[in-house]
């Protein structure tokens, strides 16, 4: 029988390629109203008054006072669904005006006057003083390590915003079933049960009186993890008040201005070195811009801190992180979820130390790699094989890294200068900490119909990453039935159990395993022609050091996926622009469930990572996102890269289906430091900040 990784036609392929896929914007419900927001124009102010124009019949203005509990639940619930007394950032929603004609709705919003009493505003991370939240952990005796150090190297790194740039903007349609007192929400989202919880919380409903349906979703990358909960509450509030279905679709500039982004960060590192250059102690002090409301920031910050020491064994550690409150747009989830900031810093630090010691970056790394059985920074353990040596061997074979590194290290002349950079990184698989066991407790169902077709009932969403296909492949393979015989629809909370959110590279590994187990059980009782059902629930029975969030101690992840990137480029010394000459990625994702999907994940993830490291420049200027269109916010195109060389190393994980581990985020995490390293070699300079734009390369900011 063929290996599961042999590619198949994606479940959603024909529907999407033929243009038949219907997105939220295609929905037309009887009596549906259009809507538009009145949003804050200032970063921080009290709302003194709101002067509404006279609303024609059939038009409604919706505010926080229309919601039983005007708080949006997402880990915490500080953020109001609509700002009522105080606005905390530019673009915060104050009102939603809805009605039958879209142009009129927009006109009414433009005519609405909000009277503000402006308050002092914190519009950059540098000036922020209010700590939203923080964590720290310590290991060994850092003070002694630094006291006895032969040399101490201190560097401060900075990383910027990154916008998810999903092709479909945020959108939702809210419906209020007056007879049943039930909220119904259709929309573009990653986590139907997050939206479900938020609606229960804001409208004070029990779980049977909320229904959330995911529509075809045109990309998420983390951007549709938490924000749809807010949009969903706003849409339902409008539907409840007007008695009509209400549609909200953000336009691109609005979406880029008001939705969550990757947290900008300042990462200060001190490394204590012994005579041989070995790192004996490391201090990391990380500050992140939480935005006005923390949302997912606590979990993002945890992942940053857990990645702060990279793939290295360092015995003495002080790692500290604080998220700072600003009067800027909220930051949240973006593929990698806090790890890209840390890996950029630690990988660049390793390059800089190696350079200062006069050794090659790879040989310097080789002095420090973790291996199976080593303790993690937080007293957990690397329980499984760490395939770094094989990955380096593969990367050398594909990219000729070491020979090129030596060649480009010689003095170069002329307009164009070459460089090559490498990064090595991991991604902790699944939710950080003990959330799988304590909060998510994933459940899913396989339902076999009388015609022997089997439906997967799970709340995980396909946002383009291929989950419908990979889930179906697992079920089909175990049941030994044709892939076409598996049904998987977009989740509807009235039909599917809560198998958790589609985040953290968890779905395939955690819920895919539940599908594997459920399918094994179904196979054992399979009776042709009979309707049968199996429910499977997450259970944890592996050996581990229990995670303790208070002490920030233990195994934060069941296992790790591993990655290595090499980027080769030439820099134009006149313009600071670069041409990529080669891009390589070697990954351990356990076992690949579909080669074509995984290749796509790798190609896309690397390019997003290179964009993060090079051109995706976004800044808040006087509290306002300045690059809020695809004209001004640059994401790389196919013209900006080359045909990437991608390879996978098998390293089977017994708690993942067919040995698979988390894969989706890993591919983005290490590209920026590899890009930066290549630019540093080409230019002969050290840099501390991404995106490393041509302006920064030429020191002409």
């Amino acid at each position: 029988m063929k290996d599961i990784s042999v590619p198949v036609e994606k479940k959603d392929h024909r529907m999407k390629m033929s243009g038949r896929a219907e997105y939220t914007a295609d929905m037309k419900l009887p009596g549906m109203l259009y809507s538009s927001f009145v949003r804050s124009e200032v970063p921080h102010a009290l709302i003194k008054d709101i002067k509404l124009p006279e609303l024609p019949d059939g038009y409604f203005s919706v505010s926080g006072s229309d919601i039983p509990n005007n708080h949006c639940a997402c880990i915490t619930d500080e953020q109001p669904v609509f700002a009522d007394k105080e606005v905390m950032f530019v673009g915060e929603a104050i009102l939603l005006i809805c009605g039958p004609d879209e142009k009129t709705v927009k006109k009414l919003c433009a005519e609405t006057e909000v009277i503000y009493e402006e308050l002092p505003a914190v519009v950059s991370l540098d000036e922020a003083t209010e700590v939203a939240l923080g964590y720290e952990y310590h290991k060994g005796d850092t003070e002694t390590a630094f006291n006895n150090a032969d040399k101490v190297i201190s560097e401060t790194f900075r990383t910027g915003y990154q916008e998810q740039a999903y092709i479909e903007t945020q959108s939702a349609v809210g419906v209020w079933d007056k007879d049943k007192g039930k909220a119904i929400l259709y929309g573009s989202m990653q986590c139907p049960y997050y939206v479900h919880s938020a609606l229960m919380h804001s409208f004070e409903l029990d779980e049977s009186h909320v229904r959330v349906v995911q529509e075809v979703t045109g990309g998420g990358f983390g951007g549709k993890e938490d924000f749809p909960s807010l949009l969903g509450c706003q849409a339902v509030a409008a539907a409840r008040k007007s008695g009509h279905p209400v549609r909200i679709i953000l336009n691109r500039r609005e979406d880029m201005s008001v939705t969550t982004k990757r947290h900008p960060a300042i990462l200060k590192y001190d490394a204590a070195l012994d005579k041989e250059g070995h790192i004996t102690g490391l201090r990391a002090d990380i500050r992140m811009d939480s935005g006005a409301y923390p949302g997912l920031t606590s979990v993002v910050m945890q992942r940053t801190l857990l990645a702060a020491l990279g793939v290295y064994k360092i015995d003495n550690l002080d790692v500290k992180g604080r998220a700072m409150t600003t009067n800027l747009v909220n930051n949240g989830a973006y593929r990698g979820f806090g790890a890209p900031q840390a890996f950029f810093a630690i990988e660049t630090l390793m390059n800089h130390i190696a350079d200062k010691l006069g050794v090659s970056p790879l040989s310097y790394r080789q002095m420090h790699f973790v291996k199976q059985g080593d303790e993690t920074g937080t007293g957990g353990k690397f329980w499984h094989h760490v395939p770094i040596p094989e990955m380096i061997e593969k990367a050398e074979e594909m990219s000729d890294y070491s020979r090129k590194y030596a060649e480009y290290a010689r003095p170069q002349s002329g307009r164009y200068r070459k460089g090559i950079g490498m990064s090595i990184f991991f991604h902790g698989c699944g939710f950080t900490g003990s959330a799988e066991k304590d909060f998510i407790k994933s459940k899913l169902t396989l339902h076999k119909y009388a015609d022997d077709r089997v439906e997967i009932l799970a709340s995980n969403t396909d946002m383009g990453q291929g989950l419908k296909t990979t889930f179906s492949k697992i079920a089909a393979k175990v049941l030994d039935i044709p892939y076409e015989q598996i049904i998987i629809e977009n989740p509807d909370t009235d039909r599917v159990p809560n198998s958790g959110p589609t985040v953290a590279s968890r779905s395939l590994m955690i819920d895919g395993k539940l599908i594997e187990r459920a399918a094994e059980r179904l196979k054992a009782i399979w009776e042709p022609g009979k309707e049968q059902e199996i429910m499977e629930q997450y259970k944890e029975d592996r050996e581990c050091v229990p995670w303790d969030i208070e002490k920030f101690h233990g195994d934060a992840y069941p296992t790790f996926s591993w990655g290595l990137n090499v980027v080769e480029l030439q820099e134009d010394t006149l313009t600071g622009n670069t041409d990529l000459l080669g891009v390589w990625g070697v990954y351990d994702v356990g076992h690949v469930i579909d080669e074509r999907i995984m290749e796509g994940q790798a190609q896309g993830g690397i390019l997003q990572g290179i964009g993060y490291g090079s051109m995706e420049h976004m800044e808040a200027f006087k509290g306002r996102i300045r690059q809020n269109s695809f004209t001004d916010y640059m994401i790389p195109t196919a013209m900006d890269t080359v045909n990437n060389g991608i390879a996978f190393i098998d390293n089977l994980y017994k708690d993942g289906p067919f040995g698979a581990k988390g894969a989706g985020e890993l591919t983005l995490v290490g590209a920026a430091p590899a890009y930066e390293a290549a630019v540093e070699q080409a230019s002969g300079r050290h840099f501390m900040e991404i995106p490393l734009t041509p302006e920064r390369i030429l020191l002409a900011e």
Binding site: L574, T575, G576, M615, F621, T637, D640, P694, L698, A700
Partner: protein
């Protein structure tokens, strides 16, 4: 209500334009008009006029009809190589299939991709109009007089730009023609800055030199006084004069910082590209 007009000849278009005047909007490829959602009571679509799609040569000029798209011109060997190279870097294939050089001129964006090269070549804009007797008349305006500012052009309310003329002497016989667009990525990017340099070295001397910068001011920057100062310099003496030339351009280049780049970068790269052009003038 918007009325759409599809004239089949320039005369027909001019008749409509003479009647509708500033109540009408001229659309050729539409690539600039569409993104700003611009409209007017009467929209005159010029892309159905076959007579505006031509490239022809007179003894003195190369004349490019207003209907020629970038894609068509990129493939036309009569068009100077430097202009074709410039057009290859514009946006994406979809835009190049509809966008036109004349449209690029009339849009009068400080970042118009073809403008530095056209300024360096002393291009002349041909504005067609109709007199009171219904007779077609033409005004010929140098490009640097035609473009007045950001989105401002010297086009009267009864006129339509029918062509652009490029003096053949501005490229034929020139010994170095160089153009660089500096964008944030390799496609679909608005120029952070751009540079065009054209020169003729004859008998060891710089007989003619033209230097233009885009995206560094409200219109393309070309300093004829500095060019005249350089002209006549023996190539062997250029190295000694270089610092002075760069200093003079440094004085007149006043780019701004905005969401796409910084003042410092724009200025530095303009001077880098100019210096590189001067260093390699004999190549």
């Amino acid at each position: 209500m918007v009325k759409a007009h599809y004239p089949e000849s320039l005369n027909e278009a001019l008749t409509i334009k003479a009647e509708k005047k500033d109540q009408s909007l001229l659309v050729m490829g539409g690539s600039d008009v569409m993104v700003v959602h611009k409209t007017a009571p009467d929209v005159i679509y010029l892309n159905s006029i076959a007579g505006l799609k031509y490239v022809e040569q007179t003894e003195e000029y190369l004349r490019i009809g207003a209907g020629c798209t970038y894609a068509e011109l990129i493939d036309d060997e009569l068009v100077p190589g430097i202009l074709r190279d410039t057009m290859r870097e514009i946006a994406s294939p979809a835009i190049r299939n509809v966008g036109t050089v004349v449209g690029n001129i009339c849009n009068a964006s400080p970042a118009g991709d073809t403008l530095p090269v056209l300024y360096a070549m002393d291009a002349v804009v041909v504005a067609a109009g109709m007199d009171d007797n219904g007779k077609k008349i033409e005004r010929r305006i140098p490009i640097d007089k035609f473009i007045l500012g950001v989105r401002k052009i010297d086009l009267r309310e009864n006129e339509i730009v029918s062509a652009v003329e490029i003096p053949r002497s501005s490229y034929e016989g020139m010994t170095k023609l160089s153009h660089t667009k500096v964008g944030a990525r390799k496609a679909e990017a608005i120029a952070k800055l751009s540079f065009a340099g054209i020169c003729k070295v004859e008998n060891g001397k710089i007989a003619d030199i033209r230097i233009a910068f885009g995206s560094v001011g409200i219109t393309v920057l070309r300093q004829r006084d500095i060019e005249e100062m350089i002209a006549g310099t023996p190539v062997s003496e250029l190295e000694g004069k270089k610092a002075d030339i760069l200093a003079r351009y440094a004085e007149v280049l006043h780019p701004i910082s905005d969401q796409r780049s910084t003042e410092g970068y724009r200025k530095k790269v303009c001077l880098n590209l100019l210096e590189d052009f001067l260093n390699n003038i004999c190549e």
